[in-house]
Symmetry: C2
Subunit: 301 residues, 2 copies
């Protein structure tokens, strides 16, 4: 066991919650996962917390780290009012955890910030001063990790809601309830499904869906590069598992930047600049562990 | 005189160089300015350095701070190969300064990063962990100041070259030599001039040019907000002096964000969130002083 003690990790997504306990990030990555579908807050929270209370009885948990879908209101550690998942509005992680595990510290951040943090500590963004993590799945999210900490600022980045130029001939209205055709509205997994009529990952890699998808994702990365100047961009999420998609995005980013920023990372070394997660699909739950272990350390200061 | 000593400041723009010396930022802001038109590097550098050598003879300069147009190659402290100003490619600030002022430390950053830094230290971004500075003039630039330091990352932000959706009916090709219709190509001062046939600031505030301009600038801020989550956005540069333009941008950012990030800064307090520079038009030269005074301090460590 390391000096942060035993830590619980919750990767709280819109469709499922992934729970784990461990005393190191490797134990979290490799160990048992308890998975609960995200239904009503009452039902889901009860199942999740029951499991952690049982684990705590075996080995006391110093902290629980929560990597949650958002937006998050850090003033109350709650899922914010504007979340698209209506029933979860205002649900407070702090309240739910502390009611059942009185002695555990709580670390909370967005799922995306947590995954980016995990990639910085143990994955593909190690030793970088400025790193971006982008996830493309049911929704689209992004994090900036600067000097080892996720950027919060006003609240936290909501990269899925940036705007990008529509590609010629694409008349799809977009799926974002708030913005219509923002990046997420045009290019998230849901948008792929709705635009093309059935669920994305069933398309072959040479389907036109992925040509268009790579156009939008490349434009999104151009915006991240020109605004935040990351030294590496990590692209995770279910959609990025499509064969060849990451390579298409790389080529289009390089072409669109057109040599304006004269760095080899945006030319011959683009393959090392835009990369898959070093932690594979474990970035989220390992990120939750990172939040929990930091909270445990802070508690003892 | 303060502990950093007497410092020279150069705001090096594409049309002119503004030079000043002083022992505090207020002296730089309020004191004499020596202004040289930006012509050939040889001619311009000779005039600039002659003036500083004379000032140095009166009171030795501990450092020279340079806030330069870019892109900048920090490996050689030069103006990078991809600058649109051909004759200045590869011109090294370090070489030019050290040849004439052997004992002066040199601080160098982009004009935009320097102005953002000045706004953080003494202007409208004081005490903010995450601040954005955007300048809209002949070109468009932007800086992120995080925990008091301009973000560099891969190189430095080049926010003018982000992409935004074209507004309906706008068929203008864009002026950016590298990207055509990136933000700068569609909305910089040069683009306003070319699209509408004559120089922007001559248009009345109710001219359609400013309606379109505010559309593009608002979309740019939406991208900065969603990607970097600044706690304040400062908008400087000649174009922002147009009456009512800042207010139009505020309204459109608020409307476009549509409450998704539930913060008063993006609703009722938008007027305190998107603001004019606290240092007025002095951000650049005061930023150059900030770079110089920091270099003087670093030198003595």
């Amino acid at each position: 066991m390391n000096h942060e003690g035993h830590v619980g990790a919750i990767e709280a997504g819109g469709t499922k919650m992934v729970c784990a306990v461990g005393a190191s990030w490797q134990e979290i990555r490799d160990g048992e996962k308890f998975v609960v579908p995200t239904t009503s807050p009452e039902e889901t929270m009860a199942l999740v917390m029951d499991w952690f209370v049982e684990r705590d009885a075996e080995t006391p948990l110093a902290a629980i780290g929560v990597a949650s879908f958002g937006p998050i209101d850090f003033a109350t550690d709650s899922i914010a009012m504007s979340t698209p998942k209506d029933a979860w509005r205002g649900v407070s992680w702090r309240r739910h955890v502390s009611r059942r595990l009185r002695d555990a510290a709580i670390g909370l951040d967005t799922d995306t910030n947590a995954a980016g943090l995990a990639e910085w500590r143990w994955g593909a963004a190690q030793d970088r001063q400025v790193a971006a993590y982008v996830t493309v799945g049911t929704g689209i999210g992004g994090a900036l990790i600067i000097n080892g900490a996720p950027v919060h600022g006003l609240l936290h980045p909501e990269m899925g809601h940036m705007v990008v130029p529509r590609q010629r001939g694409d008349e799809f209205a977009g799926t974002c309830p708030a913005h219509g055709d923002c990046l997420e509205g045009l290019a998230c997994g849901l948008a792929v499904t709705r635009r093309w009529g059935h669920s994305g990952p069933q398309f072959p890699p040479d389907h036109a869906a992925w040509e268009l998808e790579s156009d939008y994702l490349a434009l999104a990365l151009v915006n991240i590069i020109t605004i935040a100047s990351p030294e590496v961009i990590i692209m995770g999420g279910g959609i990025m598992a499509v064969e060849g998609l990451l390579d298409r995005v790389r080529t289009k980013v390089r072409d669109r930047m057109a040599g304006y920023v004269a760095k080899e990372e945006l030319a011959s070394r683009i393959g090392e600049y835009i990369v898959a997660p070093g932690l594979g699909s474990s970035s989220g739950v390992v990120g939750a562990y990172a939040l929990g272990s930091r909270a445990a350390l802070d508690e003892r200061k």
